[in-house]
């Protein structure tokens, strides 16, 4: 299934890998199927026909499906895609499959920003969004400065990020304890994100913000693609590396921080989705679209598992992603050892 598709629009020509298109289409199908399942889940399972009718506004379960379940499903898909994109961006930036925003502490930093916004300020949606992005960016700057002399790519940055993660997680714990925050938050151990109870009103702003960051990503994706050839080739073929990296960090942090602001830290989607997407698409570098679609599918699947596994208790989705993602990471490391 090799080969390139050439798209023409007037004089403009652009090439896309055929396999990427096929894989993307397949992932969309899977996402739709999962969405139908998730929307139909309840005391009594609703079939796809009923779900579709409900979406259009007909049927007894229309309200339940559209107002309760749909926001959660859409959030899972959109947030999963955002996390996948963030992971792809940072794995490209660090040229390391483990250089993921959740591993290197950017999510923890975003959460610190959120907690500060909640405890020190009023905690409005806008403040949460700004706080989370600011926190994530600050963490990124710290890690960057600490890793500067040993190079941005490679394991050192990842381990430094792990240390920063531990530190910020400790800080977050302290803030939560100090502020005697809602028991519900404390109960989840401050570190597992959840999609419980999301409704449309709290999704509007995050979706808009995410839309902005995704737009930014689209604008820099071609340069990112070129940068995957290596710094020297990229620079001498006309990529402005300094500016590109700044924008990549901004877009990546923006995506993951916005998700964290709404749902809390959901780990390992950003780590796993890009690599799975890359393997499926059999692409060089870490392509963005498969990462996003895989992330969407993974998060929705994880959320379904979280709700179904120990019924009627709904686990935070972060717990499920941690458990599965951690195993994936161990497997990944184990594979690398075998390969040597």
């Amino acid at each position: 299934m090799n080969g390139t598709l050439t798209l023409r629009a007037g004089p403009a020509v652009i090439h896309v890998e055929r396999r990427t298109v096929v894989v993307s289409a397949a992932l969309v199908v899977v996402a739709v199927v999962l969405a139908l399942v998730a929307l139909g889940r309840g005391q009594e399972w609703a079939g796809p026909g009923e779900v579709l009718a409900a979406l259009a506004g007909y049927g007894d379960s229309a309200f339940v499906i559209r107002q309760w379940r749909l926001p959660r499903v859409v959030a899972a898909l959109v947030f999963g895609a955002a996390l996948g994109l963030a992971g792809a961006v940072f794995q490209n930036l660090t040229r390391n499959a483990l250089g993921s925003p959740d591993v290197i502490g950017l999510d923890a930093g975003a959460y610190t920003g959120v907690l500060v916004a909640v405890t020190v300020l009023n905690g409005t949606a806008g403040q949460l969004a700004v706080g989370s992005v600011a926190g994530g960016l600050l963490a990124a700057v710290v890690i960057y400065l600490l890793s500067l002399d040993s190079g941005l790519s490679g394991m050192r940055l990842v381990v430094i990020g792990i240390a920063v993660n531990a530190m910020l997680t400790a800080v977050n714990s302290w803030i939560v304890l100090r502020a005697e925050l809602d028991v519900a938050i404390a109960a989840t151990g401050w570190n597992a994100g959840s999609l419980n109870g999301v409704d449309w009103s709290e999704l509007r702003l995050p979706f808009a913000v995410l839309g902005g960051f995704v737009l930014l990503l689209m604008l820099i994706s071609h340069a990112m693609h070129q940068a995957a050839l290596g710094d020297e080739i990229a620079a001498t073929s006309g990529v402005g590396l300094g500016r590109l990296r700044l924008l990549m960090v901004l877009a990546g942090v923006g995506c993951t921080a916005t998700v964290t602001a709404v749902a809390g830290p959901i780990v390992f989607i950003a780590l796993a989705a890009p690599q799975i997407g890359r393997r499926l698409a059999r692409a060089g570098g870490v392509p963005l679209v498969p990462a996003a679609l895989t992330g969407a599918v993974l998060l929705l699947a994880a959320d379904l598992v979280a709700q179904l596994l120990l019924q009627p208790v709904a686990l935070p989705v972060g717990v499920v992603t941690t458990a599965i993602g951690g195993c994936y990471l161990i497997w990944l490391l184990g594979m690398e050892v075998k390969r040597r």
Binding site: I14, H15, L219, S221, H222, A228, E232, G238, G240
Partner: protein, 258 residues
């Protein structure tokens, strides 16, 4: 001889470590210049300064009279192309797609190009001699083939200036001579080629202009016949040699007498 690409009084280094001082060089347009010298004499560093991969600690590199740093990245990349050492073949990419990446400076922000791109890619592959390999994955190719693919990529960039850092290092002897002959042909077509070469004889055979470096300084520069002699070999390489005209080509030929 005109010279659009020049370096004035450069001091080059990495962090605290100083590699070169007081280096001035004007690259002659439309000629094939070879930079030679022992290991760690600053050849690669000088080349990197020319292509903006290294900012000089002091001194200026200019293109068309303007500091190279002041040109916009794509603008500069349409004038000067560079092939570094130690290239790693990306995974899952065909020859044609890799060569097409050389068109980046001519494409829009979103990556759209024109029909001229395909033309440039075809020409570049033909000149580099890799047309038959067009649909093969790059990682499957041999070292020599891969090097020619990289050359094709830089050629597709369609730049009047072509700077190459040790392009012949990992090639077998046949391919080395093929590549050097290619550089001479490019020079014939009007391009300016600058290459760091480690074989002095090859440099003398093909280059119009030799720049000999040692310990971070330019020791001599000029046409091979005028510059390369036993004295230079002793000074730069510490190698006692005889230098005589190559029986086949008439260019200087170095025969070490060690």
């Amino acid at each position: 001889m005109t010279s659009r690409l020049t370096a004035e009084d450069l001091k080059l280094g990495y962090g605290e470590r100083v590699v070169s001082t007081r280096v001035s060089l004007e690259i002659p347009d439309g000629a094939f210049t070879a930079i030679v010298g022992p290991n760690a004499c600053g050849k690669s560093t000088l080349l990197k300064a020319f292509v903006r991969l290294l900012t000089p600690t002091s001194g200026t590199v200019r293109l068309d009279g303007r500091d190279v740093g002041s040109h916009r990245p794509k603008q500069f990349a349409r004038q000067v192309g560079f092939l570094p050492q130690g290239l790693i073949a990306p995974e899952n990419i065909t020859v044609r797609r890799l060569v097409a990446r050389g068109r980046y400076p001519h494409q829009s922000l979103l990556g759209t190009g024109t029909a001229a791109d395909e033309e440039a890619v075809r020409t570049a592959m033909a000149v580099a001699g890799v047309t038959e390999l067009a649909e093969r994955p790059v990682e499957e190719l041999s070292g020599g083939q891969r090097q020619r693919v990289w050359i094709a990529m830089v050629l597709a960039q369609e730049t009047p200036y072509l700077l190459l850092d040790e392009p012949t290092t990992f090639l077998d002897i046949t391919h080395q001579y093929e590549l050097l002959a290619l550089f001479a042909r490019l020079r014939d077509e009007g391009r300016t080629v600058v290459a760091v070469l480690h074989d002095i004889n090859q440099a003398c055979r093909f280059a119009d202009h030799i720049v000999a470096m040692k310990a971070g300084r330019i020791v001599a520069q000029g046409a091979p016949k005028e510059v390369v002699d036993a004295e230079l070999m002793e000074e730069v390489f510490g190698l006692p040699s005889l230098v005589m005209p190559n029986p086949a080509t008439g260019t200087p030929m170095v025969v070490p007498t060690v």
